[in-house]
Subunit: 237 residues, 2 copies
């Protein structure tokens, strides 16, 4: 399977890091510090994440100029705080809460798997997260990326073709030399249509205990893996 593959690019939110548990934990910690009562921080995390695709869609459809994910997250955060009646945060506390996305924890297998894969392949995020978010996350979590690619460098959000093709071009490779790795079928379908190789990694608790989507591959992907260690096994890394 590994024949001809030079680089692996990775979706990050949900695939490399467990955004939901991390946002819940940081919300709870803030709530305790600030004596904010009666908030379900899982609802908070889900509401904030639910605003993610619609915000990017405004950019994709060019209804607004380019805005990176820190900016979109911040606008969405202000709305979610208001909707849930969370008040009393200072500007600095709100900005710090927005950077919770820079402090997401990796799935337990992610660092070990990436470390093995890095020995044989170029590894880079191909995420809708902005570069600073991904750099700060990587330094905190120990993600050993070779480069930081993704939406901000391309100025196009996945699944727009430019997001994937800019990464391929910057790596100096052909699409079939790059394997897109994600826990989301839609991401892999878009990459595959452009000629990239694809690896589906199942993350059955990304959305919590009741997850109903992306529990299995819904396409003819090149690799289907249980986690990043299984992915490394299958790619002889």
């Amino acid at each position: 399977m590994a024949d001809g593959i030079k680089a692996l690019t990775f979706d990050v939110f949900g695939t490399v890091v467990d955004w939901r548990s991390s946002i819940i934990a940081q919300g709870q910690a803030l709530g305790e510090r600030k004596n904010i009562n009666g908030v379900d921080w899982a609802d908070f995390a889900d509401a904030w994440r639910a605003a993610y695709q619609p915000a990017m869609e405004e950019v994709r459809r060019k209804r607004r100029p380019w805005a990176n994910l820190d900016q979109l997250h911040r606008e969405n955060l202000d709305r979610v705080l208001a909707q849930m009646g969370i008040t009393g945060l200072t500007l600095a506390e709100t900005e710090d809460l927005n950077r919770a996305w820079h402090r997401l924890d990796p799935w337990p297998d992610a660092v070990a798997g990436l470390t093995r894969l890095k020995k044989r392949y170029i590894i880079a995020p191909l995420s809708n997260g902005n570069l600073a978010l991904l750099v700060n996350m990587a330094k905190r979590a120990g993600l050993p990326w070779d480069a930081i690619l993704g939406a901000e460098v391309a100025r196009h959000y996945k699944p727009e073709p430019e997001a994937y093709l800019t990464a391929v071009r910057l790596l100096g490779l052909e699409p079939e030399q790059v394997m897109m790795t994600a826990a989301h079928n839609s991401d892999l379908v878009a990459a595959q249509a452009l000629g990239l190789k694809t690896a589906f990694v199942v993350r059955p608790s990304e959305h919590g205990p009741g997850q109903t989507t992306d529990l299995k591959p819904e396409g003819a992907f090149d690799v289907v893996a249980r986690d990043f260690l299984d992915l490394a096994d299958q790619l002889d890394a």
Copy 2:
């Protein structure tokens, strides 16, 4: 001195890696394999490098569309081979020789110094080299970059302001939070004019035994260091 600095960006050719010795060694090895006689490979390295700034200047002045450094190096290589009467290389051998710039060796202190600096700061190249060149170089040499920045991401060659300011923006920082590190006065003067902090690292043999330029700082830079270990000492890393 380290107050407020979050990231260090690095010039690469001459500052992190010893391009001249590396190109000479790779030329000599090719000459031996191919029985190419009578070529002074130091002259070859110097002639190839002498074509570097004029080629970028065509792009800076918009006399041609954007072309990355692999492309410029390749055009220059064809000319230098012809000028020096080096013939008999196959297309594959010529392309491999062009990628000699992906295989440059670091100065002896570079990996150890960067490894120390990375613990305290974000570290990234801010080079005129293209991203693939810098990724391949880093993997071979063990340069532990947090991200790969520089001309290709900005689509502007240093010392154009956009090259530096794009890196600062992608890092999510203000200019004064970023320290440009280089062995070349001109690079630091350009960065300083935009508000970046500056560190001059002396590389007295970059151009070989007869070097006459960049032997000392010619500006009021924030740090002047003997090598990357001295830089790490001065920045408390």
